[in-house]
């Protein structure tokens, strides 16, 4: 009896799993549900498009936001400037992955000796999650170079990236910490009982499990980071957003903004699919 129930629940899990692993879920099985999904999608978006196209202001909006000539003229220079966004993002992300982990580990240290470090980590995350990113960029971007500290770069780009690193480290550290705390203490006990030191247990047993669990929220923060690279423009560097402003000013047309938006979307979609793939691979391996 119990055995049969076990089998049934296993079949149910398999069904849910197979559905989950699909990127787009049609909500059913077989060709019929796919057909229904396609028809309902066409109808829904058809109605939306009809409403927009038939609205009173559409001809003007089309002219100033969806202008093909302006798009073609501005896109190359924006795409060029967008490379700077990608560069900022890649550098910041690489640094954040490490610094955030360090902060999370500091915060999870137990024992009274480590109180100052723990307190420091808490104060840091509270501070940088609290201040709007735009203010951090302004304050550091204009303030820090003015200090003229020796051997520290004064370029706005450097301080722009530093601002993003400081803010996002605070967020990502909290994500890591949630992951670390989600690993059952019995895992660490098992590792320690085998004679592994605390750092070894953390490195080989707790962190690998923690990071796998927080991959989706981690990616979420990185998508936020990709978009916030535009904030660096506020202190000088000409990245995609600043470049599109320049193009808009030259053409009196808003299409360059849409071109920029398109570029950001194109950057985030592969990231989202990559995470889906990583999660699916992990699930396959462990089952």
């Amino acid at each position: 009896m119990a055995r049969r129930q076990g089998e049934r629940s296993r079949a149910r899990i398999a069904r849910i799993e197979s559905r989950r692993s699909k990127i787009l879920d049609f909500g059913g099985e077989g060709g019929r549900s796919v057909a229904v999904a396609i028809v309902s999608t066409l109808v829904f978006f058809g109605v939306v498009v009809l409403l927009v196209v038939n609205s009173a202001g559409w001809p003007e909006v089309k002219q100033s936001f969806f202008n093909r000539e302006v798009f073609e003229a501005s896109f190359p220079s924006i795409a060029d400037a967008f490379l700077l966004n990608v560069k900022i993002f890649l550098i910041a992300e690489a640094v954040i992955l490490v610094t955030a982990l360090a902060v999370a580990i500091l915060r999870s240290l137990s024992g009274p000796v480590f109180f100052p470090l723990r307190a420091l980590a808490v104060a840091y995350t509270d501070l940088f999650r609290g201040i709007p990113t735009i203010l951090v960029v302004y304050i550091l971007g204009f303030g820090a170079p003015a200090l003229q500290i020796q051997h520290v770069p004064t370029s706005p780009l450097f301080w722009g990236i530093t601002s993003l690193v400081l803010v996002y480290t605070a967020y990502v550290a909290e994500v890591y910490r949630a992951g670390i705390e989600s690993v059952h203490p019995s895992q660490e006990a098992a590792a320690r009982s085998l004679g592994l030191t605390r750092p070894q247990a953390l490195r080989h047993v707790v962190l690998p499990q923690a990071v796998r669990r927080v991959l989706p929220p981690l990616l979420n923060d990185f998508i936020g980071l990709q978009k916030d690279t535009a904030l660096v423009a506020l202190i000088g560097p000409v990245e995609a957003f600043r470049q599109s402003q320049i193009e808009v000013a030259g053409s009196f047309n808003y299409t360059p903004y849409l071109a920029t938006a398109l570029l950001f979307v194109l950057l985030t979609i592969p990231m989202a699919r990559l995470t889906d793939w990583l999660i699916a691979r992990d699930r396959r391996r462990q089952r």
Binding site: S186, A189, A191, S193, L194, L196, T197, Q209, R285, Q286
Partner: protein, 247 residues
């Protein structure tokens, strides 16, 4: 020299005193089974021996070295004492082989090939040689528990602590795990076992210890404890076990 000595061991969690002065000796190659109701302190005692819990008072000596002395290197001590848990606690993100070789490689600094050779040999001994590349989720409870035993053995411990290792298993899987433990006993492994499997205890133990509310109420050969217990509490406990059909 005894393999394990406990002298007046006390342990409290908050206001609850779980161990109220335990004295116990386990000789080399001896198998001692601890029986007693849930909450009598069996698991806590084992976790104290492994230093997963610090004792409040008393001394624990393993192989002549006092673990409870100041400045003892916990990691070095734990390498000599294997423990197997009720819930297996395998590492779910690692293959069976990596589960077994992790500690020998990282704690004993064995090379990967040496560690794997030792691991495969042990896995084959418990009949799991062909599952080395599987992840724990793919194994049955009995197989997982056998891997957990192998993982502890891979450190070549002087002493094995088994904490109700069959309590989480479906009844038909219990035997395969108990057989592995029998083989260990036959090979001369010193073991301290907390168990609810009375017939197994009777069968394998050199000595049975009855724990009741944090004290050792009585101990003796399986014969003495199971057929002529001298304490009323022991009799009551065994009576309940018999009524539950477990003896």
């Amino acid at each position: 020299m005894s393999a394990l000595e406990l002298h007046d061991v006390h342990k409290s969690f908050g206001k609850v005193e779980v161990l109220k002065g335990i004295d116990l000796e386990v000789a080399e190659h001896e198998v001692v089974c601890m029986i007693g109701a849930s909450g009598s302190g069996k698991s806590t005692l084992l976790r104290c021996v492994n230093l997963l819990e610090r004792v409040d008072r008393g001394r624990i000596v393993v192989g002549g070295e006092e673990l409870t002395a100041r400045g003892v290197n916990l990691n070095r001590v734990r390498r000599r004492i294997g423990i197997v848990f009720q819930a297996y606690n395998l590492f779910p993100h690692m293959s069976v082989l990596d589960n077994v070789t992790l500690a020998p490689r990282k704690a004993l600094k064995l090379s990967r090939s040496d560690a794997e050779e030792r691991a495969v040999e042990l896995l084959e001994r418990v009949g799991l040689g062909d599952r080395r590349d599987d992840y724990p989720d793919r194994l049955s409870g009995g197989q997982q528990q056998r891997v957990a035993i192998v993982r502890a053995l891979a450190m070549r411990p002087q002493l094995m602590l088994l904490d109700e290792v069959t309590s989480a298993l479906d009844p038909e899987l219990v035997a395969e795990v108990l057989n592995v433990i029998r083989e260990l006993a036959a090979a001369g492994m010193t073991m301290l076992i907390a168990t609810h499997e009375m017939s197994f205890a009777r069968d394998i133990a050199d000595r049975v210890v009855f724990l009741d509310e944090g004290v050792i109420l009585e101990q003796g050969t399986p014969e003495e404890i199971f057929t002529r217990p001298s304490e009323e509490r022991t009799r009551q406990f065994l009576q309940r076990i018999i009524e539950a059909g477990r003896l």
